[in-house]
């Protein structure tokens, strides 16, 4: 399907470029679901959004650079960061369009970082970590902390919320257009909120999460650990698969992409998890299609 056809359509086009959590995990056992860390591109008509800049953004960059070279047109891109842990920003120095003067790149992140977002991103391109400094990038780059309640980009409305139960915090986003809603909610420990032993505001936080994901046509969400693994990973900032699926189902999510796969989870294991969980929800009265997000997959919503 050509970009022109996509631009005419009333649908979101979404591609997974990186689905792995914590650290990039290349190798024979991760070829299918992919070893690159989080990056998802979303297009609605002519508005192009990128969610997170993990190592997956490198391949997206190569794809976009070919497009820019072919079309000889300026490119406006909007990059929304969930937070600035390595696995969500490490691909940015390898993002080819950032080196092209035709690119206008707006980077959005939590206002909680205040003026630190720019400093954090440029620090990872300090000469001690990377040979090219951020100031050398040829693209027109602006770094913006989100202040408005809802951002309007083209025909898309972007809503956001702080997710406090992750070390250092993170932000979830919802993208809405043409009556459809996509939610990107990675890096949050929902089990810890529900457990409530460490926080008094648990019920309020979980209610906010429920409202945010309610009725989503697609929810891309943190499901890093199995129910068996989770008790040994409490406090790491990630959700167990049964908790995620339970909440998504109760909130009438239509399609759930389990995301931020654990580096120790092989393709075979993710296949098995899919087979264990997906059938019962696909065949219920109001079906919810569950799949484990994989690199190289484009879907329309």
């Amino acid at each position: 399907m050509t970009l022109a056809t996509q631009a005419q359509s009333d649908r979101f086009y979404l591609t997974f470029w990186g689905t792995r959590g914590s650290i990039s995990t290349p190798g024979t056992s991760t070829e299918k679901y992919g070893g690159n860390t989080p990056c998802v591109s979303v297009r609605f008509k002519n508005t192009e959004i990128i969610l997170d800049a993990g190592t997956g953004i490198r391949n997206l960059g190569l794809h976009l650079a070919r497009q820019i070279a072919r079309e000889h047109k300026n490119k406006k891109l909007h990059l929304f960061l969930s937070h600035t842990h390595w696995d969500h920003i490490q691909g940015l120095p390898f993002f080819s369009p950032a080196y092209m003067p035709e690119t206008k790149l707006a980077i959005y992140g939590s206002p909680k970082k205040e003026s630190f977002l720019e400093a954090i991103l440029s620090r990872q391109m300090d000469v001690n970590y990377f040979p090219v400094e951020m100031t050398a990038l040829a693209a027109d780059i602006s770094i913006e902390e989100i202040n408005d309640d809802i951002l309007h980009l083209g025909d898309m409305d972007i809503n956001w919320q702080e997710q406090v139960v992750h070390p250092g915090g993170s932000v979830r986003y919802s993208l809405a257009a043409a009556g459809k809603k996509i939610v990107y909610a990675t890096d949050v420990e929902l089990d810890k909120i529900i457990d409530g032993s460490e926080r008094n505001d648990g019920p309020k936080l979980i209610e906010e999460y429920r409202e945010f994901i309610h009725g989503a046509d697609l929810l891309i969400a943190d499901g890093q650990y199995t129910g068996t693994e989770y008790p040994d990973r409490v406090g790491y900032g990630h959700t167990s698969i049964p908790t995620l699926i339970g909440l998504a189902n109760e909130e009438n999510v239509k399609q759930l992409a389990v995301f931020h796969h654990d580096p120790l989870h092989s393709d075979t294991m993710l296949d098995k998890l899919w087979k264990n969980f997906a059938p019962q929800f696909a065949s219920q009265e109001e079906p919810m299609n569950i799949f484990w997000a994989r690199e190289g997959m484009t879907i329309a919503v």
Partner: protein, 146 residues
């Protein structure tokens, strides 16, 4: 350990290698049957081919070699993967081969192309992925040419 000792150790190892490295000395020391090396190379298949295994209810399964740069899947008889069944568009989807990477693309079909029950626009394929187009099921499999 002193540097002197380290040098001596290296020399000793060097000598040992010299004494066994000639083919003649190896032959003398060998106690196993000689292995015909050419036969080993012949036995290792280097010409792997991927193919599409197609299953249509009520029909005999068939295989289509995935050796062309592009394979069209559809209801028209000219399609490389011809699916004369309900809910399949004339040209429904295609598989593009780029080196060893196979990408499935939906061609704006009416009823959709599914990979492991997810309706896709495009998807990089891996072995054992189940492609569903109408009533047909297609799997990418590796075959060794005989």
């Amino acid at each position: 350990m002193s540097p002197k000792k380290l040098v001596r150790k290296k020399r000793a190892r060097g000598k040992a290698e010299e004494s066994t490295s000639s083919p003649e000395s190896k032959k003398k020391n060998s106690t196993t049957m000689p292995i015909p090396v050419d036969a080993i190379f012949d036995d290792i298949p280097s010409d792997h081919t991927l193919a599409l295994q197609v299953t249509i209810p009520g029909k005999r399964p068939f295989t289509v070699p995935a050796d062309e740069p592009e394979l069209i899947i559809g209801r028209e008889s000219h399609c490389a993967v011809y699916l004369p069944v309900e809910n399949v568009s004339r040209e429904h989807a295609r598989i593009i081969r780029n080196g060893e990477t196979f990408t499935l693309e939906d061609l704006d079909s009416t009823n959709g192309t599914f990979v492991n029950n997810v309706r896709i626009v495009s998807c990089t394929l891996h072995q054992s992925d189940q492609i569903r187009i109408g009533q047909a099921r297609i799997t990418l499999v590796r075959i060794n040419p005989s």
